[in-house]
């Protein structure tokens, strides 16, 4: 059975590049006179659109001592403007049968609505309004601050794995905002006020710091006309500060930490390494690391699964993760969840042995082919979601990439060689740029 299947597979993979290369995102891009960039992703299968505005600002752009303000402002953007009541924005979207929400990350803050295609103009009108006309009352800011404190409770304080992750990140970065949680440190959130939000808003929310992305049943001409009429009249902010981030000094000390919490039932070892991000015109290293994560820890067929879950019964789960879509240096992460009878010490030693083995043995070309095949296929599957494509562009354009960079990415992945990957692995898997963390139950810690 298996041999028969494998022979078919070989024939199929040889035939694949033809369609993979013929596939392009149905994407159009242009810029308004005020500097607002526009991306249109066409998909005419259903009469719906997603309208998104992405601001080039996230938690890593926050002033010192104001952690959480980017996310707090995101919440407050649903309050009143000069012409809309507090909460009216979402009410209007709902009254159109639409859905709306927003999200904040290290490098971006985005707002979106999904509605019937003929409601796009109304969405733009309201989004353009709140780009410049937000009005906040002290009372609303106070109440909403309690909401984000409860959000932090739900996401972080009630979850020891999230608390542990915060500590890992804080230790990984000596000198960069990625070391501070997106939602903010609790003691700083508690002190955020109305003026902090308005300062941040007035500094960063402007058309020349935003990207409009519309996906779905629209044409670029329609979007251009609507965008010029709704966003076009908003003047660019001439005082928009350049996006200057602090950068990491050379990292020369391996760091370790352990975090114990009585709510932990399943201990594990986490390891993070400082790693380069995708840079405009230079995405090759990031491409190599993307494939490295798959080879090392991307599921049942990965190196760590082989070594730690199959050949040796060290772990119940292992994985490696890397997402290069970031403005500044990011991390390459590994996790090993040991079996019931295995200590964290042994799990960590087995991880290090497996990493060393990977670098020694090199890469099996069949493994690389399999991953490239999956990457090619993901382009096909990805066409099923215009919103997913829109998201890819939004994340890319707010982290320093161009439309051309986003479009070039699949080919760069396919061009990555075994040697590129091993070189990239050697360059980042350096103990002195790493953090190793043990998440422990309280019982273990007291032993």
């Amino acid at each position: 059975m298996i041999r028969w299947l494998m022979s078919l597979i070989v024939a199929v993979s040889l035939a694949l590049p033809a369609w993979a290369q013929g596939l392009h995102d149905a994407v159009t891009t242009f810029t308004l006179d005020n500097g607002m960039q526009v991306v249109v992703v066409e998909d005419h299968r259903a009469p719906a659109v997603q309208h998104m505005v992405w601001y080039n600002v996230g938690s890593a752009d926050e002033p010192p001592g104001k952690s959480g303000i980017a996310h707090f402002l995101e919440h407050l953007m649903f309050k009143a403007t000069e012409t809309m009541e507090s909460g009216e924005f979402s009410q209007v979207v709902a009254a159109q049968g639409g859905r709306d929400n927003a999200f904040t990350s290290y490098d971006y803050t985005a707002y979106f609505q999904r509605v019937a295609a003929d409601r796009l103009g109304l969405m733009m009108e309201m989004e353009a309004d709140r780009m410049v006309n937000l009005r906040l009352t002290e009372q609303e800011v106070e109440t909403e601050r309690n909401v984000i404190i409860e959000e932090r409770n739900s996401r972080v304080e009630n979850n020891p794995r999230a608390l542990f992750g915060e500590q890992m990140n804080a230790v990984q970065y000596y000198n960069h905002g990625y070391g501070i949680p997106i939602i903010g440190w609790k003691h700083e959130i508690e002190k955020l006020g109305r003026q902090d939000a308005l300062d941040f808003y007035e500094t960063f929310y402007a058309p020349n710091n935003a990207t409009l992305i519309v996906s779905g049943d629209v044409t670029p001409e329609e979007v251009r006309e609507l965008a010029e009429s709704h966003y076009g009249p908003i003047p660019a902010n001439p005082d928009l500060p350049p996006r200057l981030r602090t950068s990491e000094p050379p990292q020369t000390a391996a760091r370790r930490l352990s975090f114990a919490d009585p709510r932990v039932a399943q201990p594990y070892v986490a390891r993070s390494y400082l790693a380069p991000a995708r840079d405009s015109g230079a995405q090759e290293k990031a491409a190599a690391l993307t494939i490295l994560a798959e080879l090392l820890g991307g599921g049942t067929t990965s190196h760590l699964a082989e070594e730690l879950q199959f050949d040796n019964e060290i772990a119940v789960y292992s994985g490696a993760f890397y997402d290069g879509t970031a403005l500044d240096e990011t991390t390459f992460d590994i996790i090993v969840v040991p079996g019931a009878e295995v200590s964290l010490e042994d799990a960590e030693a087995a991880l290090d042995a497996a990493l060393a083995g990977f670098l020694d043995e090199g890469i099996d070309p069949e493994d690389l082919d399999r991953i490239k095949m999956q990457l090619r296929a993901s382009q096909i599957y990805g066409q099923d979601s215009a919103d997913g494509i829109a998201n890819r562009y939004g994340r890319g354009l707010t982290t320093g990439l161009t439309v051309a960079d986003v479009q070039a990415w699949p080919d760069i992945l396919q061009a990555t060689t075994e040697q590129d990957i091993i070189e990239a692995a050697r360059a980042i898997l350096r103990p002195e740029a790493s953090v190793t963390g043990w998440l422990m139950s309280a019982e273990e810690a007291s032993q």
Binding site: I2, T143, A265, Q374
Partner: protein, 435 residues
Amino acid sequence: MTRLIAIVALWFAALPAWAAVEIEEVTTDSGITAWLVQEPAIPFTALELRFRGGTSLDRPGQQGAVNLMTGLLEEGAGEMDARDFARSRDALAASFRYSAGDDSVSVSARFLTENRDEAVALLRESLVAPRFDADAIERVRAQVLSGLASDARDPNYLARQGFDAMAFGDHPYGAPGRGTIDSVRALTREDIVQAHRDVFARDRVYVAAAGDISPEELKTLLDRLLAELPETGAPMPGPAEITIPGGTTVISFDTPQSVAVFGQEGIAQDHPDFFPMFVLNQILGGGSFESRLMEEVRVKRGLTYGVYSYLAPREWAAVYLGSVASANERIAEAIAVIRDEWAKAAADGVTGEEVEAAKTYLTGAYPLRFDGNAQIASIMAGMQMQGLPIDYIATRNDKVRAVTVEDVNRVAAEYLTPDGLHFVVVGQPEGLDGS
């Protein structure tokens, strides 16, 4: 609770946006029926199989058998061990997801047109010839046990499980679908093989496909995939007796934020009052920012990040559930506000304006749920399982539109039971008396 939400979502998701695209019913030579939406624009197919029964088919003392069995389907089949199987699947860039829910085991597959036959041959092996190798059983059992240990210290899980145990007692719904640490430890290979026989049978399978495949191709594919399954499986568990007394249960757990699951008896999907209840729930605690619970608990008072309610008409019991989480010192106030809103809605009803806004939202949001081939296939399989007609989609919004404020206020008075609303709270809540 995620599972419950999924069930409700499935029922309402359907496709006026795609209404021009007919759902076609296909019957294979061997007699398997499937619903198909052809969408040739992208060269792949999403295939959804639902086997009715799910973890509720666990035999007494063998809780978790169906879940463990489901987790083992991709861990070796036919002549392939776990790794051979994974390599073959990955090399085809196909994706197979197997998951065990309360009411069904679902198999969600996605494969390219280019290598459809090979992908389906592989999927077939996992369904009809899983090996259940001893080493695979131990490996997956260890993963399940690790998850169960974590569940035991997860306030969200404890609240859900606490509510289910109270509400459903000895019915399978009252037991954790993944089993307990003791029950999973005790499962033998024979139990797993038995669970496989119990679940996978032709008398309980519902099939839907969306994507780049013709009716003829689908027929051939399905006969190859399913024809060898046995005709019948295990008997269904039958209706659950629901016991939800009013009050509050506190499960003590040392964590800063209390998590609460609340609920009362619900209403079945085929009940004539279901649509008025559905509109009522949208107003009271449906997923949007506009609900009364969100407005009162979050927007006005800042007591929570999220508060929701939803109808959960499961196969063997219908309940009406909700959830909220607030800091230990504030949860009592959040609960008081929710109880108050429940009582207000029962006593005073809602306004015509609220009903119109809810109906506009519900009918308008309907097409937006159809968001790709996999979602469409999943929705169509769910519709079949719930016994909905193939033309249901064309009439669904009319049923929502037909609901009047009088209907909503009648069902609010009749079915909302403020005194029968029970809260299970996990945390160190202050100022709450719980049994």
